[in-house]
């Protein structure tokens, strides 16, 4: 079974024919070509597939695409305004919060959802917000520093 659902993706209202059993991560990557969202474990364990649904961090690999009907989905492709890097992306780049880069889209989306709710989190709050995201390269210290640098750079959102 498949049916047509409406939703907003990266700021654009769209309608798509979506099979009942399709996962959000597969819909984004395979149907829409939004391959910035990664599939690491395919089991809810790593956070690489983190996207925002109605502004909150969610795992694309544990979410049925049809369950986000009528909602707003944001992926890493949406965070930089006019082709520029967002402040989180800039900070991850400058502070070495990214190495191989596989975890980075998920890290940035999780951090993005935190900063929208809480523009000035302390280190514990940052660690908690990113606690569902695994990184095999950085050892996390540089990731936390990157989020802190983005906060210091000011301007919530973009």
């Amino acid at each position: 079974m498949a049916s047509i659902i409406g939703l907003t993706i990266n700021g654009r209202k769209q309608e798509h024919l979506i099979p009942d059993a399709m996962l959000l991560v597969d819909f984004l990557r395979d149907k829409l070509g939004l391959t910035g969202t990664k599939k690491g474990c395919d089991g809810g364990e790593c956070g690489a597939c983190t996207v925002l649904v109605d502004g909150k961090q969610r795992l694309g690999c544990m979410t049925l695409a049809k369950s986000v009907a009528g909602k707003t989905v944001e992926t890493i492709e949406s965070v930089g305004p006019h082709g520029r890097l967002s402040r989180l992306q800039t900070a991850f780049h400058e502070k070495l919060g990214t190495q191989c880069g596989f975890c980075t889209p998920g890290m940035i989306m999780a951090a993005e959802s935190l900063l929208r709710d809480n523009p000035d989190p302390d280190e514990d709050e940052i660690r908690t917000a990113l606690s569902g995201n695994l990184c095999r390269c950085t050892g996390y210290v540089k990731i936390i520093e990157s989020v802190q640098a983005a906060i210091a750079a000011g301007e919530v959102g973009k």
């Binding site: 059993a21 809810g44 795992l59 049925l64 606690s131």
Partner: protein
């Protein structure tokens, strides 16, 4: 992972429609947040022809007070309960923040957490892994690799929120073809890893209620896990107590992660009226130790989980009694 999923997704608008759909479609399965179910389906654990989505049922999304209870719809997410400040009202509900990671808590519901499938290292594996191992009694096979001589499944119930709700005296509302009924949360479970819920065919958990009076108890939740996030409990302990002049006046303990069901202990005649001295705490853990039977279902040995359950019980009781003293 990566078993292909193939099912029809039904989206009922109220609880009775959901129950009717379930009864008309043998093998169908409810899906709430999907954070337990999808992980299992992707491992080829079950292949239901139909999933019945609970997120379109408005009556299961509400949080309300009825004078004596806080009534929570089963589809309310764990993140929303945290945002509503539940852990501040009922301290044991800090268990909400111990479930999985933040992205999962945004989707995970309280009903799904209470109805979580039991877990075992021989079960929560991909289909090819389980096949190479000859499957097991819980699914597709006939031997239990944990206790091969027996014919029982020892997979552990590993939800974090159930023990907190048990010590707070929570009840659940179940809807079936015969209408709705409330029952104590402990009656939802039985000691069988294969079939740990007492729900009848098609029955749906629609709400949970916590007595408002439980807010006056001193309660808490403590969890042993490998990593501080994402991991399920190796053992999880909730305690609620009342303490008068440094003496235990009322005591309830519940343990998760060790048995096929979360277990409530509310009968400690020898501890009531006593100060929480080493000997009294030892007696309490001995009492609990009679029923908790962690088996080799996780990557940590059963003995470790058994000892950790005892350690957590003692720490929590000591901390909660001390907290009460400080409050005067």
């Amino acid at each position: 992972m990566s078993a292909e999923m193939d099912f029809e997704l039904a989206t009922p608008k109220d609880a009775s429609e959901a129950v009717a759909l379930m009864q008309a479609n043998p093998g169908a399965c409810y899906i709430a947040g999907g954070t337990d179910l999808v992980a299992n389906l992707r491992r080829g654990i079950g292949a239901p022809p139909m999933l019945i989505a609970l997120d379109g049922i408005a009556e299961m999304q509400t949080i309300a007070e009825d004078g004596t209870h806080l009534v929570i719809g089963a589809s309310v997410t764990l993140a929303r309960l945290m945002a509503e400040g539940l852990p501040k009202r009922f301290a044991a509900m800090s268990a909400l923040a111990e479930v999985a990671g933040p992205g999962l808590r945004e989707a995970a519901t309280i009903g799904g957490n209470l109805c979580l499938d039991t877990r075992c290292i021989f079960y929560n594996q991909s289909k090819w892994w389980r096949k190479a191992n000859g499957y097991c009694l819980k699914l597709d096979g006939d031997t239990c690799h944990v206790a091969p001589k027996g014919k029982r499944c020892h997979a552990a119930f590993s939800g974090d929120v159930a023990p907190a709700l048990l010590v707070l005296g929570a009840e659940v509302q179940v809807v079936g073809s015969g209408g709705a009924r409330w029952m104590p949360l402990s009656d939802l479970y039985r000691e069988d890893g294969l079939d740990h819920l007492t729900l009848g065919a098609g029955e749906l958990l629609v709400a949970v209620r916590i007595p408002l009076a439980a807010a006056a108890l001193h309660s808490g939740y403590a969890k042993s896990r490998l990593r501080k996030a994402v991991d399920f409990p190796l053992a999880g302990v909730a305690v609620a107590l009342d303490c008068k002049d440094g003496r235990i006046a009322d005591l309830r303990v519940a343990v998760t992660g060790t048995n096929p069901r979360p277990i409530l202990f509310d009968h400690f005649p020898d501890a009531i009226g006593q100060e929480p001295t080493g000997a009294v705490l030892d007696a309490i853990t001995r009492e609990i130790g009679k029923d908790i039977t962690p088996m080799r279902t996780t990557n940590m040995p059963g003995m470790y989980r058994r000892q950790m359950a005892g350690v957590l019980v003692k720490r929590l009781i000591t901390r909660l009694c001390a907290g009460q003293g400080a409050k005067g």
